[in-house]
Amino acid sequence: MAATSTGIFHRSYASELALRHTTAEKVRLILVALALLSVPFVVSPYWLTIANQIGIAVIGAIGLNILVGFTGQISLGQGGFLAVGAYSSAILHIRGDLPVPLSVLLATLTTAVIGAFFGIPALRLKGLYLAIATLASQEIILFVVRNWEAVTGGREAIVVPNMEYFGFAFRQDFHWYWVILPLAVLAVLAARNLFRTGLGRSFMAVRDQDIAASAMGVDVTRTKVLAFAVSSGFVGLAGALTAHYTGIVAWERFTLEESILYLAIIIVGGLGSISGTVYGAIFMITLPALITRVGQDLQGTLPGIAEKLPAVQVVVFGLVIVLFLIFEPRGLARIWQRIKDYVRFWPFRY
């Protein structure tokens, strides 16, 4: 927690409520903020694309972590909810002629409502059975998207025009970075604060022991449905951003693989950890790009490997997930914590 071993003492309620307590933490926050603000001026557009994809993944993965990591409701339906967010925002913007911010907001709310509806099975189901029920919701949502031609345009992709504000069009990654970054920061702060409220704590109570929570007066039904709604809201926002950022919405993007990628993000990052979600998103989105880079470098030195490279990449991807889970099941958040402890106690070891 803090960079002192004597404990932290508060002299006012305001200081106790602060998210950052010590000077070291505040300095670190400023450094991170400066780094984030300077990213687009330093890195190439290629890494900026990845940065934007990470930003959107952070928002979506926080949503998933609220449901899976904090409330204990395993969901494999992430892709479906992303699709709901993306399609509603695109349709509201194009057919409803609403301005983008409004359509994104409405899409977020729509996804929250639909998420709550698909959360109803959670009232009776737990654990693995729920996981498979959410897998079913994913398949059903995508089926509806594919076949409800009057609304979604069926299997054809929807082209979303560039958003234009302040006299110019948002089309380069550079522009989008300044849209996605604040929203991602907002999502992180909202989630951090959510778990300091009664609602957030009731989520965790349901995760830890739902029967005990109910005995303590937590309305389990209401909490579960709300958890699905809140979580899907974040996911819907991520979906809506994907729609406007990429300028195209097609159902093929929101398959089970997408759900699995998001699960991998929160597991590699750390279940029930907001900062871990951010690390996980950075790691999982960058990993394939890094593997490709390494592959390209190897191609020069070992020409024979070129043919096998794509298959090897698939193996490496799986291997990274497996090794992570075996050696650090609590994810990157825990590794980061250990590094901090090591620095804090240096030169002494535990």
């Binding site: 998210l19 302040f166 604040p182 604060n193 993007r253 794509p310 298959a311």
Partner: protein, 395 residues
């Protein structure tokens, strides 16, 4: 929200507005006499890797062959070819990487990545060719930098329907079996309009082919009881082969007409005897019918200890897609223009039709249309080979 957390947010918000207005760094230009960078987005490990691999090898093979011949005006083609595993997000990353590296054109692959990049290539002014022959991509107003090399899926469907109407010699019924995706449904609506527009005496119905099925017998029986005699398939080889097997097992009297992506050697190999007598609509001539255009890739592969028969017609398809792009580049350089994306687009539109040695119809584009050709070959499976019924058939 607490004041302390609100402060960084406000800063971020203000910074967002001010910085966004400054505009971002642009892509590098072409340096005049070095290698010519071309980005290739291939599927080598994803859902369509079975046909994506030979297609991608064809693109690579053509570039290697051209470089051995001395390149274009002494400049080599420098391909940056990467696998995107049929994942649209990966395609977007690769595309950004290519833009960053200053490529002049991009070779894509599937419907998903082609659609997803359509707007961005228009903004970045990078000509884009892919193996997605959707009719939507031929209109320069809609997709100004997409070039469709082959006959579109819709044109292939029209050719198939014309052939069926003639083969049936009277009224008949057609069932379209398609993959449940934008790729699969692309020609379905246009086929129906073609029948109405030309007063063909054909009944028309479409059926989705679910992924992961082990048979299509129910769908076949529905189609057969509705009177269908021909089945047009818009899907890849494996499910099409299963369909042919089901037809043979059930003893149904149905003729399969495969469009492009199941019209290949794999379909014949997988279906075996069940493939006999079925028909294929394929704009690219298979290597089993040697034509002048097959010589270069065949010789090139033999010099590498391989053979064109082994690689199959999708290799030829990749080879000539790359050929068209290279001809555009040659035309741009010869006319003394600086090699940029927009100059390449203009060259592709204004140059003479590209001759592919009879492997396809001559390929040409103009300001009005990016439809490379309308003609396609029709083949019948006989003794395990694709035997030509007609060549250069146009709708």
């Amino acid at each position: 929200m607490h004041r302390r957390t609100a402060a960084p947010l406000t800063i971020a918000g203000v910074a967002a507005l001010t910085l966004a207005a400054c505009g971002g760094p642009g892509a590098e230009g072409d340096d005049g006499d070095g290698p010519i960078g071309i980005g290739v987005i291939s599927d080598l490990s994803g859902a369509t890797a079975d046909v994506g691999t030979p297609y991608s090898e064809g693109i690579r093979g053509y570039a290697d062959w051209l470089n051995e011949q001395g390149g274009i005006e002494g400049r080599e083609l420098d391909l940056n070819l990467n696998d995107y595993a049929y994942d649209v997000a990966r395609a977007e990353q690769l595309y950004s990487q290519y833009v960053n590296e200053g490529v002049v054109a991009v070779q894509g692959w599937g419907t998903g990545d082609t659609e997803a990049l359509r707007q961005r290539i228009a903004q970045d002014e990078l000509p884009f060719m892919s193996a997605s022959y959707s009719e939507e991509l031929v209109d320069p107003d809609e997709a100004p930098y997409n070039f469709v090399v082959a006959a579109t899926y819709s044109d292939q469907m029209r050719v198939a329907l014309d052939w069926i109407a003639e083969d049936a010699g009277g009224d008949s019924a057609v069932a379209v079996f398609h993959h449940d995706s934008p790729f699969g449904t692309a020609p379905v609506g246009d086929g129906e309009e073609h029948i109405e527009g030309n007063d063909l005496d054909l009944d028309y119905a479409s059926y989705a082919m679910p992924d992961g099925a082990t048979d299509y017998v129910s769908q076949l029986n529905r189609a057969a009881s509705a009177g269908a005699e021909y089945i047009v398939v818009q899907n890849v080889s494996s499910p099409a082969a299963m369909l042919a097997n089901n037809i043979a097992e059930q003893g149904l009297d149905l003729t399969v007409v495969c469009l492009n992506w199941c019209a290949d050697e794999q379909f014949i190999e997988l279906a075996g005897d069940a493939a006999e007598g079925h028909v294929m609509v394929q704009p690219f001539a298979p290597p089993t019918e040697p034509l002048p255009g097959h010589e270069a890739p065949a010789e090139f592969l033999e010099s590498r200890g391989d053979s064109l028969e082994n690689k199959g017609l999708h290799y030829v398809q990749g080879w000539y897609t790359m050929h068209v792009m290279a001809e555009g580049i040659r035309h741009t350089i010869e006319s003394g223009e600086e090699l940029t994306g927009s100059a390449l687009r203009d060259a592709l539109r204004s140059m003479d039709a590209v001759d592919t040695g009879d492997v396809t119809q001559p390929i040409s584009f103009d300001d009005e249309s990016h439809r490379g050709m309308t003609g396609t070959g029709i083949y019948e499976v006989s003794d395990g080979e694709m035997v030509e019924l007609a060549r250069g058939v146009t709708p």
